[in-house]
């Protein structure tokens, strides 16, 4: 089991892992919502989107608000079910699986072992403290709770989450505090693929910089990232490649 440990900051070009060239291949993905509550109204999310995410790289997704970026990430994670197309994921053992067709149990395994997702919104568990919430994925992968909490404490310190919040309940946190808990929770397990939806949206510039560093470190360790950010400067700075969505279609 590989677990992310804070290491010296490495600026500059990302280490491109030579192991697998294309861990994630998205092909002709379509998603339209049919809202029966509104008389069967069709709400298109995106059409015919294809892209590859290179191993250990950062693929940025740009586009105006409502262009389908978050829906695309959710389809990869299977929170949304695509109507057609494929999301081919290269498993650790070299085999491939289409996340659109995979069974629920297979997706749950892959979420536990390989793919993380960070959104703007933290989903707190009632009565679970910030540090335990963030440590949970580590514990689920078999790490002792005390050790997991130590890992998380290191990362909380790096994102400057005030120490008196560590044992607090995240429901009561500010947006920026919740976001940091979310990020730390996902980064701590060093997933092979990390889907990031506006991971820095509620953060001040200095905290953004720290998060960018952490994301860079994850990438250097071989994590493939697919990220959505409104801040185009930041997105361009982080990304090895940027694709652009416009009204649900890939235009660049």
């Amino acid at each position: 089991m590989s677990v992310f440990t804070p290491q010296p900051i490495t600026h500059g070009a990302a280490g491109q892992s030579s192991a697998t060239a294309l861990p994630l291949r998205v092909r002709n993905l379509h998603k339209t919502f049919t809202l029966h509550v509104l008389g069967g109204k069709h709400v298109p999310a995106f059409h015919d989107v294809s892209f590859d995410a290179p191993a250990g790289g950062f693929l940025g997704i740009a586009g105006a608000s409502g262009s389908g970026k978050s829906s695309l990430l959710k389809c990869i994670f299977r929170t949304y079910l695509a109507d057609s197309g494929s999301v081919t994921w290269n498993l650790t053992d070299g085999s491939e699986i289409d996340l659109v067709q995979a069974t629920d149990d297979e997706v749950l395994d892959i979420r536990r072992d390989e793919i993380g997702y960070v959104s703007q919104f933290l989903r707190p568990m009632p009565r679970v403290t910030a540090i335990d919430l963030a440590a949970r994925p580590l514990v689920e992968r078999g790490m002792e709770r005390a050790e997991a909490r130590e890992r998380i404490a290191d990362l909380f310190a790096r994102v400057r989450l005030p120490r008196d919040l560590w044992d607090g309940l995240p429901v009561l946190f500010s947006g920026g505090e919740q976001q940091r808990v979310n990020l730390v929770r996902a980064l701590a397990v060093a997933p092979r693929l990390l889907l990031l939806d506006e991971p820095t949206a509620s953060l001040s510039p200095d905290l953004q910089a720290e998060v960018v560093t952490l994301i860079g470190e994850a990438r250097d360790r071989g994590t493939t990232l697919v990220g959505v950010m409104h801040d185009t400067d930041l997105l361009n700075r982080l990304s090895d490649q940027v694709i652009v969505l416009d009204q649900g279609r890939r235009v660049a």
Partner: protein, 300 residues
């Protein structure tokens, strides 16, 4: 580590406990069907979501559930949601042996390695599976507990059914389980009729876990409890999920409970399954009109 798994007794079944990476299907159900009434050849045709009823228009039989299929892995939890009368409780009762299904199969990893159909087994075998491999928590404590005998006695009943014979061990395990459910040992000899609703549900959970079951079925275990009391019960169930490695089926009206406890969710209407999937997908991308209504009326 689990307090239950470390109990010093040879009767605790370790084979399916805390096998974190177990990919075995603990429970598999195919085409389960249950009815109230004699039935006719048109029952199937005339019931279900497209007819908005589970009552056969020709013969008046209630098709309480039909074509219900699902599988639950060890260590995972399946939620069942759906409107009142949609057949959720019926499914659990058929599995636990409270009700005889009209058709379908159910297999348990711990019974003949999942190769045999529980529904066609002899009454004696069914009882044995229920006593050794399953646990059930009913919505109403009066259905799941004997309210007149002590709390400890309620747990002991299940241990006796699972052929525990040594009184000291039975007493130790009952006390331990109740303590784990936050019922103090000093209350062990009190009958649950003297307990609050939340405490009664905790006794039921202790009872359901007594035999170290592979499958635990929970029917609306928190409805009717105050929110703060609910929280305590849910915390205990979460804790069990982390430590016991059992497969659970949770029936609840409360989507918050489902979101908290269940990785996967199945939606029922008029006795049929209309949709099933990962819980986050069911809640964020529901496809069936009924599920959309259910989810939107809660988020509204």
């Amino acid at each position: 580590m689990s307090a239950i798994a470390t109990l010093p007794t040879e009767m605790v079944r370790h084979d399916h406990v805390a096998s974190r990476n177990a990919e075995q299907i603990a429970l598999k159900v195919e085409n389960l069907e249950a009815q109230y009434g004699r039935g006719c050849s048109a029952c199937h045709e005339l019931t279900g979501p497209e007819h908005s009823t589970n009552v056969c228009g020709q013969c008046g039989t209630v098709i309480a559930c039909a074509d219900v299929s699902f599988a639950v892995r060890a260590g995972r939890t399946l939620g069942i949601v759906g409107e009142s009368g949609s057949g959720k409780t019926t499914v659990l009762r058929c599995l636990y042996g409270d009700l005889n299904p009209a058709g379908g199969t159910a297999s348990l990893m711990t019974y003949e390695d999942g190769r045999a159909n529980l529904f066609t087994a002899s009454a004696q075998v069914r009882r044995r599976v229920r006593n050794f491999d399953m646990g059930m928590v009913y919505q109403h404590a009066r259905d799941g507990l004997n309210l007149r005998i002590s709390a400890g006695g309620n747990v002991a009943e299940r241990l006796l059914a699972a052929e525990w014979r040594r009184v000291d061990q039975i007493r130790a395990r009952a006390g331990h389980l109740l303590e784990r459910m936050e019922i103090p040992r000093s209350r062990m000899d009190t009958p649950p009729s003297a307990f609050s609703g939340g405490m009664q549900q905790r006794v039921q959970i202790a009872r359901a876990l007594a035999n170290g079951p592979a499958v635990v079925l929970l029917d609306e275990m928190t409805s009717g409890l105050d929110v703060s009391v609910q929280a305590g019960v849910l915390d205990l169930v979460l804790e069990l999920q982390r430590t016991e490695g059992v497969a659970m089926v949770v029936v609840s009206h409360d989507l918050g409970v489902i979101r908290l406890l269940c990785e996967r969710t199945m939606v029922m209407k008029n006795g049929r399954v209309v949709e099933s999937g990962l819980t986050d997908q069911i809640l964020e991308d529901p496809r069936h009109p009924y599920t959309q209504l259910l989810v939107s009326s809660v988020n509204a």
